[in-house]
């Protein structure tokens, strides 16, 4: 990472800026707030904001227009900052950087660094970098090697002694990398000229944030505090760990119960299984990954079972007990399983909206505690905005980045931009992993009625030589009337990497014929996506039976 000094206006170190700000009288922010504004006063209801705001944004003197120096934007307007962001995770960092690049004076506050989050710990980089995507993927890499060792036998490799895994080395190297990344994120903010303030931010009024008692005024406030793992309140829950802790265990679990069937649960199941723990997954439903394509759910469950993970389906946790030898038992509606060294709950995440002062300033929340926002990420309070997991739209890092970028454009670049939540691709880093974009088969039928379903379920070349039971599953959903590809789902090696490019095509609204006109790359797994000639089934809303199996392969094998 380059650490050049950047533009002259950045030559004041954040610390100096911070010190300067502390010496400024902050009490005037409230009186400012009540002075007549240039903009017409409009309803605070997010829905009603839509039309008038576009006009207003383009006509009002925005914070950015003509304000390309920090001096002008911070001093001239009587706010300490044009933007104060609470939370320096993916969304907050992106929004802050972009806003600063558009000329805004920006501060962001974040809790002190710790691998495990709480009301008083966090760290620059946020969930993604410190307790989510990144450490998770590093652990996935680490755990995947055991499968590769197995594969290697079929390719002629053998070991005098079986490879062993040293847990401590992995955790130490992982944490060193996280420290490096949090440093990089700090530098990114610094280089963008964003003031970083360590501490817990709380909203005092629509233009004031308190960080551990110090007050800062801002024209706009952005809440990007993310979410946190949530555990049910059952007896003995204090013995359980969440995903934060699971990423930073000091020893390898001998035998672990993972409660939950979502992506976090299946990812950790793969991680611990690969690192040679005995893994039991307890899910409430019959299958993992509710909301995903049904056949993908079946397929990934089968493949994970083949790799040695034991699933306990339709079991809800009721209590955890700790025996004298320290081992844990999990009691469910079906019985009790004992002998666990660890019990992990991956039972959802909650927006971090408590103790933020939201209720007092009138920021409206949804039933599950997420901040309600309009299409531009504005809350029910005009000057307060929110992006990322705290809004509980699509809780993915790249979506938070998109929301943060769109927010900055809307507010500071005079370019009202709605984040586009359609056809967002996503991945599950289970083993094997899943990549998907667009609609599931169930959604496609619901929305379009007449759908052609193309599927492939095959043994990849590597597995034919390794002799392992690995397979790949692919599904393409096509609108029967327009030929448009509505959804692509894949489970198997490299799925997340493969789906990214496909997502560009799906997002661009390409048709099946256009997929077919693309020449394959041989030999790859991905080429299968452009060589699916015959639909596995044609689903027609008006046909007497729901599914018309297509057996006449010749008809379309052209």
């Amino acid at each position: 990472m380059a650490t050049s000094l950047g533009a002259p206006r950045l030559s004041l170190s954040p610390k100096t800026l911070q010190a300067l700000r502390r010496t400024l009288p902050l009490s005037f922010s409230k009186s400012l707030h009540s002075k007549p504004l240039l903009r017409p006063s409009i309803s605070h209801s997010p829905i009603l904001l839509r039309l008038p705001r576009r006009r207003r944004l383009s006509s009002r003197p925005s914070a950015s227009a003509g304000n390309n120096s920090a001096a002008a934007s911070s001093g001239g307007d009587n706010y300490d900052f044009d933007l104060f962001t609470i939370g320096a995770g993916s969304g907050g960092v992106r929004a802050s950087r972009f806003a600063a690049n558009f000329g805004a004076s920006v501060a962001v506050c974040e809790l002190p660094f710790a691998t495990i989050s709480s009301d008083s710990t966090g760290g620059v980089g946020g969930t993604c970098v410190l307790r989510g995507c990144v450490p998770k993927k590093l652990m996935v890499y680490a755990s995947k090697f055991s499968h590769e060792f197995e594969e290697s036998h079929g390719f002629g490799w053998s070991y005098e002694t079986d490879p062993k895994h040293d847990w401590g080395t992995l955790i130490a190297n992982k944490n060193a990398e996280l420290q490096r990344l949090t440093g990089i994120y700090k530098n990114i903010l610094k280089n963008a000229g964003v003031t970083l303030i360590e501490g817990r931010g709380k909203i005092i009024d629509p233009h004031t944030v308190s960080v551990d008692g110090k007050l800062y005024s801002a024209r706009h406030i952005l809440i990007a505090v993310g979410g946190r793992p949530n555990m049910p309140n059952i007896p003995g829950i204090e013995h359980a760990i969440d995903s934060d802790a699971a990423l930073d265990l000091s020893v390898r679990p001998d035998k672990i119960a993972i409660v939950g069937g979502g992506y976090i649960a299946v990812e950790f199941a793969g991680i611990f299984n690969g690192l040679m723990s005995e893994v039991h997954v307890f899910i409430r439903q019959k299958k993992v990954l509710r909301g995903f394509d049904e056949e993908i759910r079946d397929f990934v469950g089968e493949q994970m079972s083949l790799r040695g993970i034991e699933f306990h389906t339709e079991e809800s946790p009721q209590a955890i007990t700790k025996s004298e030898d320290g081992s844990l038992s999990l009691k469910t509606n079906k019985g009790t399983v004992s002998g666990f060294s660890h019990i992990m709950f991956a039972t959802g995440r909650r927006p971090n909206t408590k103790n933020l002062g939201l209720e007092d300033v009138g920021v409206k929340l949804t039933n599950n505690g997420a901040i309600m926002v309009d299409e531009y990420s504005r809350t029910s309070v005009e000057s307060i905005w929110a992006v990322g997991d705290v809004t509980d739209r699509i809780n993915l890092t790249p979506v938070a980045l998109m929301e943060g970028g769109a927010f900055a454009k809307t507010v500071f670049a005079n370019e009202p931009t709605k984040p586009d939540h359609r056809e967002v691709p996503s991945a599950v880093f289970s083993q094997p992993p899943i990549g998907q974009v667009g609609l599931t088969e169930e959604q496609a039928i619901e929305e379009y009625g007449d759908v052609d379903v193309y599927t492939a379920n095959f043994r990849p070349l590597k597995a034919t030589v390794s002799g392992l039971p690995d397979r790949i599953y692919m599904k393409l959903l096509v609108c029967a009337n327009s030929g448009k590809v509505l959804g692509v789902h894949m489970c198997g090696d490299d799925s997340p990497e493969i789906i990214q490019g496909v997502a560009i095509a799906v997002k661009a609204g390409l048709t099946k014929a256009q997929f077919d006109s693309t020449v394959g790359i041989h030999p790859t797994a991905a080429e299968e996506l452009v060589t699916m000639r015959t639909p596995t089934r044609k689903i027609r809303r008006n046909s007497s039976s729901d599914e018309e199996k297509v057996k006449d392969a010749v008809k379309s094998t052209t």
């Binding site: 680490a142 034919t464 020449v519 394959g520 790359i521």
Partner: protein
């Protein structure tokens, strides 16, 4: 499906509607799809063996028996060495003695290839195609002569003849050339070499360099140009060269071999720089030549070009209206999926009543070096040559996440070339792990004219390498028309 051939009454006069010479990728595809249209089809192919010759081949062709498939299997096998190295910093303790049993891999590879050979035969049988073992030659515009393994000769007549005999590795004429091997033998060596010398800078050369290095051999790679992989984007060529070196391969640019001789220590190799090396194996990866010599093309008057490739029009028809050719034997773009496309288009044109030209635009391809390279569309150099407006180049060079822990000093490099007037992405390349898998979807988007804006509007998949392709925000350089790189 109407049987067109029967309707016009002509079929009666011929044994077959279509006779295909060569059951490789293009021939099998054309046979199957033609039979699917209702044509009566026969196909001839030489007997099976991993190493090809004038009289040896096998159903499945180069791709399945001596190309893509066995090569990829060996790449998989050799890539494990890097994985073992990478595993250590992730906490894995591996014994110093990791053994590699070449014979076992070879055996498993041969088994897989025999299995695929069987599958291809079944595909033909199930499609109703008649299979004939033997060497096919032209005997006239509508006649093929097949010499069977027992020496007997059989003649067949057909309304259309399709030549799909592919190509074969070529040797270089230097003293001692008989001591060298080609890629055919390299895929089936009895002994794994400890010291390998490779002549050639094309994809076959770099792939074998990676394979043998991964299996523990020392590898010396000699090529004429400054960089390997002529024809690919120059910047990516440099990346590949750097990675090959980083993985321990000795590169000898702008040099060639002048003489080979046998000694007690191995094959003595003399270079044009006067250097002398001793090797267990010398591989000539110096190009491939179309298999047209023994086809008796003169019997029907079929024309070839200077390289010996059969000349065809846009529909794959030769200068003789009843004779067609697809795949490597036409030396257009020598890739399996292209031969498949040509085969399908031929069937549609001749038997489907739907004249169809194969489309050579934006064909993605891959080099399975370790790490691999994959590209689609134009290189930066090609884009500039063809440019009518400024060219925007976006590049990204980053340490893949796995390497942040493994400590491997290898960057992944990606590049998008954009036409500034239309905003269309006209070239994409990547060198790094999973590049071929990643590039397929990019290929779909580009084939359909996706713009940079459409790339950017796609949300990333995090954390992946591929997400970099949709998050390249700043232009690395802008090239004006007529400028030189």
């Amino acid at each position: 499906m109407a049987r067109k051939m029967l309707r016009d009454g002509e079929t009666e006069a011929y044994d077959y509607d279509l006779f295909v010479i060569g059951a490789g990728s293009g021939g099998v595809r054309a046979s199957r799809t033609s039979a699917g249209f209702g044509a009566k089809v026969a196909i001839c192919e030489l007997p099976f063996h991993p190493i090809s010759s004038e009289t040896i081949g096998g159903v499945g062709g180069t791709c399945v028996i001596r190309g893509c498939v066995p090569k990829k299997i060996l790449v998989y096998g050799s890539a494990f060495r890097g994985e073992f190295e990478d595993a250590r910093n992730f906490g894995w303790e591996l014994s110093e003695d990791i053994n590699f049993n070449w014979k076992k891999l070879l055996n498993n590879k041969t088994q897989e290839i025999q299995r695929l050979n069987g599958i291809y035969k079944r595909l033909l049988t199930n499609a109703g195609v008649t299979m004939i073992e033997g060497e096919g030659k032209l005997a006239g515009p509508h006649e093929v002569e097949v010499t069977q393994p027992d020496g007997s000769v059989q003649k067949y007549t057909a309304k259309h003849i399709l030549i799909a005999t592919g190509s074969r590795a070529q040797r270089v004429k230097i003293p001692g050339e008989e001591l060298a091997i080609t890629s055919d033998e390299a895929l089936s060596l009895e002994e794994l070499p400890k010291r390998a010398v490779i002549l050639g800078g094309g994809y076959i050369a770099v792939e074998f360099a990676s394979i043998w290095r991964g299996m523990g051999a020392t590898v010396d790679l000699f090529y004429r140009k400054e960089l390997p992989l002529r024809g690919f984007d120059d910047e990516m060529r440099a990346v590949v060269a750097k990675n090959l070196e980083g993985r321990g391969i000795e590169l000898h640019p702008q040099s060639t071999l002048t003489e080979l001789s046998k000694t007690d220590e191995g094959i003595k190799v003399v270079t044009d720089h006067g250097d002398v090396l001793v090797a267990d194996v010398v591989l000539f990866a110096t190009g491939r030549a179309p298999n047209t010599k023994r086809l008796n093309l003169a019997a029907a008057g079929v024309e070839t070009d200077k390289t010996g490739a059969i000349k065809v029009d846009e529909y794959s028809c030769t200068n003789i209206p009843s004779i067609w050719a697809v795949g490597d034997v036409t030396n257009r773009m020598n890739l399996t999926p292209v031969a498949l496309m040509e085969g399908t288009c031929f069937s549609k044109t001749v038997f489907g009543g739907e004249p169809t030209k194969p489309d050579y635009k934006d064909i993605p391809c891959a080099v399975f070096s370790i790490p691999p390279l994959s590209v689609v569309g134009l290189s930066e150099q090609q884009a500039l040559e063809q440019a009518t407006s400024d060219i925007l180049v976006f590049t990204s060079s980053f340490t893949p996440m796995k390497n942040t822990i493994s400590g491997r000093q290898e960057k992944t490099v990606m590049k998008l070339v954009v036409d500034s007037a239309t905003d269309r992405v006209i070239g994409a390349s990547m060198c790094g792990p999973d590049a071929p898998e990643i590039m397929q979807g990019i290929g779909v988007a580009m084939k359909c004219g996706a713009t940079k804006k459409q790339f950017d509007s796609t949300v990333g998949i995090h954390p992946s390498a591929a997400e970099e392709f949709v998050t390249m925000r700043s232009v690395t350089r802008r090239l004006t028309v007529g400028s030189k790189i």
